[in-house]
């Protein structure tokens, strides 16, 4: 197995974005972090301070999402979404910010509405706020680089305002917040589906073009005592299907249930499983192409593998349909983000959370292979492939480790040697 180099971009509660350079994967070699770099947007910090956008006391600059731009071949630009609704663009390989932060006018006018996250799909970048506003951000690819026109970013804007006043039995109930959302898009980018859900706000799937709900989920049937849980969806994941856009969604709830919705079949979940005693915080497909196994994490740091056994039929009872098939141990606190590396053939899973560690797990051995302490509550994680450790521009980023200059040079030299060797072998 050849050695891999990855850069893990981690966003934290204070609004810092850090890059962790991971190295390993070669036979016999262990995974280790080479360097931790903090990326600062010094160029534009002054303008932020002037505008008074950064309210440090409430931590509105906390990173909620780190997400790659769907840029085709180019994978390095990364969008960083913050709680206040600000979006920064960062070049992952060099660690420099691309232009000033982008702001959305309507988030600022509504102070209680927070940005939930960013997801990339083929036409652009989709953002969602807790108030239920889904937006599509398009950008122009100019010669100088990527330009995300701030004023025109709401082109193709789609308000899911209907979630705020959904038609229910008792009439419209205003103020139902969205807590989780997920995007699924076909390759051509014409058919984009967005799933939303939250507290007392059941799963709904929206078509981005028409802005209408395609599917409105229902809770499972009440039990023999007539008791049913109010929906509280905390995370969700589209499961890949044969058809271009998937029609099967797995949801995690705050009442520690995992529910599988299939909107070809019925509005109630087709399968359900109770796991643990805590809120389920995030889901991650074991293999991006295979809808059978999903890693789930909860608020006390348990990470388990959910085996869906996808050849379910309507006759199987829920208990038979889903089961837990593995666990990863090591997280000490609430897991906020789970991700597989870009090269899906590598059996690794990365996690970060409130225990202030980024952890790398080996999925074959089911063991933690590396952990990096990053000092803050970590909120979001994104892995990019880093072929070569590039020298970061000293003005924009500074190394946190006390690595001496000579040591660092030595590392780079070694890389070059390794590269040469690899080329020679080819």
């Amino acid at each position: 197995m050849a050695e891999n180099r990855w850069r893990v971009l981690v966003g934290d509660d204070l609004g810092y974005v850090k890059g962790v350079d991971l190295k390993g994967g070669a036979e016999g070699a262990e995974w280790a972090s080479e360097r931790v770099t903090r990326f600062t947007n010094e160029k534009f910090e002054e303008t932020e301070a002037e505008a008074g956008l950064e309210d440090t006391s409430s931590r509105s600059g906390a990173v909620v999402s780190v997400c790659a731009l769907p840029q085709g071949d180019l994978e390095t630009p990364v969008a960083i979404g913050r709680k206040s609704g600000r979006v920064d663009l960062l070049d992952a390989s060099t660690g420099s910010y691309l232009g000033p932060p982008l702001l959305r006018a309507d988030t600022l006018s509504k102070p209680d509405s927070e940005l939930l996250g960013l997801r990339s799909c083929s036409p652009g970048l989709v953002s969602c706020t807790s108030g239920g506003i889904v937006e599509l951000w398009r950008w122009e690819n100019s010669e100088s680089g990527i330009v995300l026109p701030a004023e025109e970013s709401d082109a193709g804007l789609d308000t899911v305002a209907a979630t705020r006043a959904e038609p229910s039995k008792g009439g419209s109930v205003p103020g139902r917040v969205v807590e989780a959302f997920e995007v699924s898009s076909s390759g051509s980018g014409t058919d984009v589906k967005i799933a939303t859900g939250g507290r007392e706000n059941n799963l709904k799937v929206w078509d981005l073009e028409t802005g209408e709900a395609v599917f409105v989920g229902r809770s499972p049937k009440p039990n023999e005592l007539g008791i049913w849980d109010k929906p509280w969806i905390t995370c969700m994941s589209f499961l890949p299907q044969a058809s271009p856009t998937s029609q099967v969604i797995l949801c995690g709830t705050a009442n520690h249930q995992l529910r599988l919705y299939d909107w070809r079949v019925k509005r109630r979940p087709v399968m359900e499983l109770e796991w643990g005693e805590n809120r389920i915080t995030c889901l991650c497909l074991d293999d991006p192409g295979v809808p059978e196994k999903v890693w789930c994490a909860n608020a006390i740091g348990q990470i388990r593998l959910l085996d869906l056994k996808m050849n379910y039929s309507m006759t199987t009872s829920p208990a038979e349909g889903m089961s837990m098939a593995g666990s990863l141990k090591g997280s000490l606190g609430c897991v906020k983000s789970l991700q597989r590396p870009p090269d899906a053939s590598k059996p690794l899973l990365l996690s970060c959370g409130l225990d202030r560690f980024v952890r790398v797990f080996d999925l074959r051995k089911r063991k933690q292979v590396c952990s990096v302490y990053l000092k803050q509550y970590l909120k979001a994680l994104h892995v990019v492939e880093a072929e070569e450790v590039q020298e970061a521009a000293p003005a924009r980023s500074r190394s946190l480790d006390d690595v001496e200059e000579s040591e660092y040079v030595h590392e780079v030299d070694e890389d070059r040697k390794r590269k040469k060797r690899r080329k020679g072998s080819k």
Binding site: S57, N278, I300, G301, Q368, Y373, K375
Partner: protein
């Protein structure tokens, strides 16, 4: 007459048939060995001292703890930045006194009542509210918020013994839950004093070295005033050792004492010299806390996000051993 030929050999003792005699012999031999060991050790230390070498440090479980990368360095800019904006920043940075609401589990027994009574003397300007049987914790928290309290402390008991303590910081959390053990009220402490009520004691926080430890230390600090009443000479100590937080409450006094000091020389005249001596009086109570969970926000077992919690998963994970400590 010696019963055994070689009194140092334990295996020879087996020749003695009488059990009591044999036990006595074993005890004797062991005592001898201990004494010999002690002498040898003193000899070694003396030799080292003569050579001017440092004495070897005693190997304790505490000193052999596994490496923890979360140890906080002095003036770590990132940690300071975090602490500038965390939940306790306002209380610890300002000069406003904290106010603590104390309550118990429903239907507390006498043990809990006594404990709370003593805790009231430790935490300044705290108020105790009796909890009705039907009052939920959420209602307690709601009430405390209305009254402007900065923290709620709930003392829990099991089989008429205090066993747990939950600390909820208001209005944004976090919630800490501790296990309480080895509780001794001041009545049970020999030579105890009486603590002054409504007094801000000085605070000693010992050995909180990791990031998590620092957070707990800040949480406990925020229950006391930033400006202690030093003239009352009372000290509250939280000492962390192997993840157990030992609480002690003392009064100190500096006393001037005249002492005879021998002056060197042939005259042999003894001089009197005034010396300042510190004396301590324990006020009580004594108890030990062990952290169970820290949860972000206000207590919510079902839906809360845990910063750290003591699960079986943690103990099963690689690298965990009995010398792994988190504080």
């Amino acid at each position: 007459m010696a019963l055994v030929e070689n009194e140092d050999a334990l295996h020879d003792v087996n020749a003695v048939k009488n059990k009591h005699k044999r036990n006595e012999l074993v005890k004797k031999i062991k005592k001898k060995r201990r004494a010999a060991k002690k002498v040898e050790k003193e000899k070694r230390q003396k030799l080292l001292k003569e050579q001017g070498l440092p004495l070897p440090k005693p190997q304790t479980i505490d000193s052999q703890r596994t490496h923890d990368e979360t140890f906080v360095a002095d003036n770590d800019p990132e940690v300071l930045e975090d602490e500038r904006t965390d939940e306790f920043a306002e209380l610890l940075g300002g000069s406003d006194p904290p106010s603590l609401l104390m309550t118990t589990c429903p239907k507390p027994s006498k043990a809990t009542h006594d404990f709370v009574k003593e805790l009231e003397c430790v935490f300044p300007f705290s108020t105790y509210k009796k909890r009705k049987e039907t009052t939920l914790v959420t209602q307690v928290v709601e009430y405390a918020k209305q009254q402007g309290h900065t923290a709620v402390m709930i003392v829990n008991e099991d089989v008429k013994q205090v066993n747990a303590l939950t600390l909820i910081h208001l209005p944004h959390g976090p919630t800490l839950s501790f296990k309480v053990s080895s509780l001794r009220l001041s009545q049970q402490i020999f030579g105890h004093g009486k603590a002054l009520r409504d007094n801000f004691p000085e605070l000693v926080m010992n050995n909180f070295r990791t990031r998590l430890g620092r957070r707990i230390s800040r949480s406990l600090q925020s229950l006391f005033h930033t400006k202690p009443m030093c003239h009352n000479r009372q000290v509250a100590t939280f000492h962390n050792q192997r993840d157990f937080l030992f609480f002690r409450h003392h009064r100190y006094i500096f006393e001037k004492r005249k002492e005879k000091v021998k002056t060197g020389g042939d005259e042999g005249g003894a001089k009197t010299q005034t010396k300042i001596q510190t004396r301590l009086q324990e006020l009580g109570p004594r108890f030990t806390l062990k952290l169970q969970t820290i949860q972000k926000g206000i207590l919510n077992w079902k839906y809360g996000d845990f910063e750290w919690c003591n699960t079986q998963d943690n103990k099963d994970s690689a690298g965990y051993n009995r010398r792994t400590y988190v504080l």
